[in-house]
């Protein structure tokens, strides 16, 4: 479903160039649930934004369902993000003056879903991530970090994307809520055949994924597991 070919992303900082992603290649099958671990600053977020077409690689290519992202024009990349990708940002990136519901409804609006259907779907999603119904109409800058994180996850799921890219989706959550989110994501990959790639420091989450990659010095290596986790 997603094929990453020799991906490189370099930054210039002063007179040095750093390559947090330096020749990354891997493949993920449809409906698989995978995790990326690595030290802080190792380039996990950078890699994820390349996969989510938020950034362009210095070289290399990402092929999703046979379509190369490198060859797509800007408008098509926007469409790819809207239709095929659900992105959970490490800093959530919600629109602060909009309510939780409005934030979740945004991608639905861009996808042209009718207004009543949007509201219905947004409510369902917020319930799925266990956000208190009384907080649905609250502006997101008045929500706690964990609440914002769950709104961000709900927003990523809105358009039923075939690929979910989640950067630390449980980083701000307590163990129990974190468990629930992990359960939600694995059920999506299991039941809806959604491909899910999560970046995490969370051991328990990493252990529950089918595959686990480690990003180190710009290179991605797969951790070998003794047996399947599920």
């Amino acid at each position: 479903m997603i094929v990453v070919k020799d991906l490189v992303r370099q930054f210039k900082s002063g007179d040095r160039t750093i390559k947090p992603v330096n020749g990354v290649s891997f493949e993920l099958g449809k409906g698989s649930l995978a995790s990326i671990v690595g030290k802080s600053g190792s380039g996990k977020s950078t890699l994820l934004s390349l996969l989510g077409a938020l950034d362009k690689p210095t070289s290399g290519d990402v092929v999703v369902d046979g379509v190369s992202l490198a060859g797509l024009p800007d408008g098509k990349l926007t469409e790819y993000r809207r239709r095929d990708i659900g992105f959970v940002f490490q800093q959530f990136n919600l629109i602060p003056n909009l309510s939780a519901l409005d934030n979740v409804m945004l991608p639905l609006e861009f996808a042209g879903v009718r207004k009543s259907a949007r509201l219905q779907r947004a409510k369902e999603l917020l319930e799925q991530v266990q956000l208190d119904p009384e907080k649905h109409a609250r502006r997101t800058n008045r929500l706690s970090g964990g609440e914002q994180q769950r709104v961000a996850i709900a927003r990523a799921l809105a358009n039923e994307p075939k690929l979910i890219l989640a950067d630390e989706p449980t980083g701000n959550l307590d163990e129990q809520t974190g468990e629930h989110i992990i359960e939600l994501l694995s059920s999506l990959s299991r039941d809806d055949n959604t491909t899910i790639l999560v970046v995490t420091h969370d051991r328990s989450l990493a252990q529950k994924t089918e595959r686990c990659f480690r990003l180190q010095q710009g290179r991605l290596t797969e951790e070998v597991r003794s047996g399947s986790r599920r």
Partner: protein
């Protein structure tokens, strides 16, 4: 939540700033609109002045004007000659008569007897020779006063009191003796002005003085005339007058072919000077004097034109200011919300949605600014327009006063017998009307003017919002999300 709702919400996100922006925009837009309104008002007035004044030539017999001077009278044949000159649209002949109230006529003309006076006191074609005096049962609406009495004392006979004569003008069209259309306030015109008929138009003050209404009758030289209409010339002097058809006046004066004055209308302002020369040549310099009616209004027109230009520049400047304000504010707003654009873009918002959102937001701000600005403009424009016009026409006013003063000064000296007394009775006829036109220029807010001004600001607002928003939307989302 739709794009529109989001935009409106965003416009009020920072209420204090929104209020400040709307206030500043309102002042700029209000000023721009006020200037546009002033410009239009002045423009309309210039056009009106040009139309009523600028294209009219007056032809008088050489050496004579009004009731003064000598020379040979103009004839209808000459009118035809003038009509065939290039660029002449119309020629209206007038025949002026002096109506003297019956009882005093007898007294003042006792020496020569008879009711029809072909010649004035001087006889022949001396002073007053062109404008015969005929008797009437009407009483003048203007009291002789000091000027009138002083004036009459220059004649051969001296009366202790004397009523002023009334001007009766035979006219070939529904215009006054300066070529301006008659303003008939009740009744109708005379119909065919080239046919003799015992009907007359009576000035409002004269009608009042003599209790005349439409359908009333009065006599001139024992002939009964019916009042067909009452007109208002706008001046006391102008309203102490009677208009009859041209042939009727010629018959009353017993001079069938003679004209006192011809009013020549030229087809356009540009052709006035050349046509003036052409008419002069056609008639012969020794036969007729051709003057451009109210020539000194040209200065008024040109100063009004400069006001028009100034107000146009001020309009453009104020509009540009409004444009720059909204432009800078939108650039600032878009910059401030770069990150938000990045988020929208990252979750798949097309560029046009992002552009639309910011355009709508700016339109909300401009709409508010325009509404407040339009209120300011409608309050301010009248004052601004009249201030601009009155300060710029002082030159005209001075000219007028000087000329009026000249007349007033001349009359007591006795150097201007007869006619001076007429003028002394009221304001200087044509100038009275023209200055009224000038001073009455007041701006009114026309919907078209408002729409044009606001549309221009809206266009700037759209550009100011769209360009920076689209420029930001084109950047890779991750760069925008990371911030500066």
């Amino acid at each position: 939540m739709s794009v529109l709702a989001r935009s409106v919400g965003n416009a009020f996100r920072n209420k204090i700033r929104t209020a400040a922006v709307v206030a500043v925009l309102a002042v700029a837009i209000g000023l721009a609109l006020a200037m546009l309104v002033a410009n239009q008002a002045v423009g309309a007035k210039v056009q009106e002045l040009n139309a009523s004044v600028g294209t009219t030539l007056t032809v008088n017999p050489a050496g004579g004007q009004g009731f003064e001077g000598g020379g040979e009278p103009l004839t209808t044949t000459e009118a035809q000659t003038v009509a065939s000159v290039a660029n002449v649209t119309s020629v209206v002949g007038t025949k002026a008569l002096r109506l003297q109230t019956a009882s005093t006529t007898t007294a003042s003309t006792g020496a020569t007897t008879g009711t029809t006076q072909q010649a004035g006191p001087g006889g022949g074609f001396g002073p007053g020779g062109q404008q015969p005096t005929v008797s009437t049962n009407l009483t003048a609406a203007v009291d002789a006063g000091t000027l009138g009495n002083r004036n009459s004392s220059t004649g051969s006979t001296t009366q202790p009191t004397r009523t002023l004569p009334i001007t009766a003008t035979g006219t070939g069209a529904e215009v006054d003796s300066t070529g301006k259309a008659l303003n008939i306030t009740s009744g109708t015109g005379l119909g065919d002005y080239t046919a003799a008929e015992a009907k007359a138009l009576v000035g409002s003050s004269l009608a009042e003085k003599n209790n005349l209404t439409v359908g009333s009758t009065f006599t001139v030289q024992d002939k009964t005339f019916t009042v067909a209409g009452i007109f208002d010339a706008g001046t006391t002097f102008g309203n102490n007058a009677v208009y009859v058809t041209l042939p009727e006046a010629q018959a009353l004066a017993a001079t069938p072919d003679e004209l006192s004055t011809m009013i020549v209308t030229v087809n356009s302002m540009e052709n006035v000077d050349s046509t003036k020369t052409a008419v002069q040549n056609a008639l012969g310099t020794d036969k007729a004097d051709v003057t451009q009616g109210q020539r000194n209004l040209e200065t008024a027109v040109s100063s009004l034109n400069s006001v028009k230009n100034i107000s146009l520049i001020a309009f453009i400047a104020a509009l540009a200011t409004a444009g720059i304000i909204i432009l800078l504010i939108m650039v600032m707003l878009v910059r401030e919300r770069r990150r938000e654009i990045g988020v929208l873009k990252a979750i798949g918002a097309p560029n046009r949605t992002i552009g639309l959102q910011f355009v709508l937001e700016s339109l909300v701000l401009v709409a508010l600014g325009s509404v407040v600005g339009a209120v300011i403009a409608s309050l301010a424009s009248g004052g601004i327009a009249s201030a601009l016009i009155s300060s710029n026409t002082t030159t005209t006013a001075v000219t007028r006063t000087q000329r009026g003063g000249g007349l007033a000064g001349a009359v007591p000296n006795g150097s201007l017998p007869g006619g001076g007394g007429f003028q002394g009775g009221g304001q200087g006829g044509p100038f009275g009307g023209a200055s009224q036109l000038l001073t009455s220029v007041t701006a009114s807010v026309s919907p078209g003017v408002l729409a044009a001004g606001i549309a221009a600001v809206f266009a700037v607002a759209i550009i100011g919002a769209l360009v920076p928003a689209l420029l930001t939307a084109r950047i890779r989302p991750i760069e925008v999300l990371r911030g500066e």
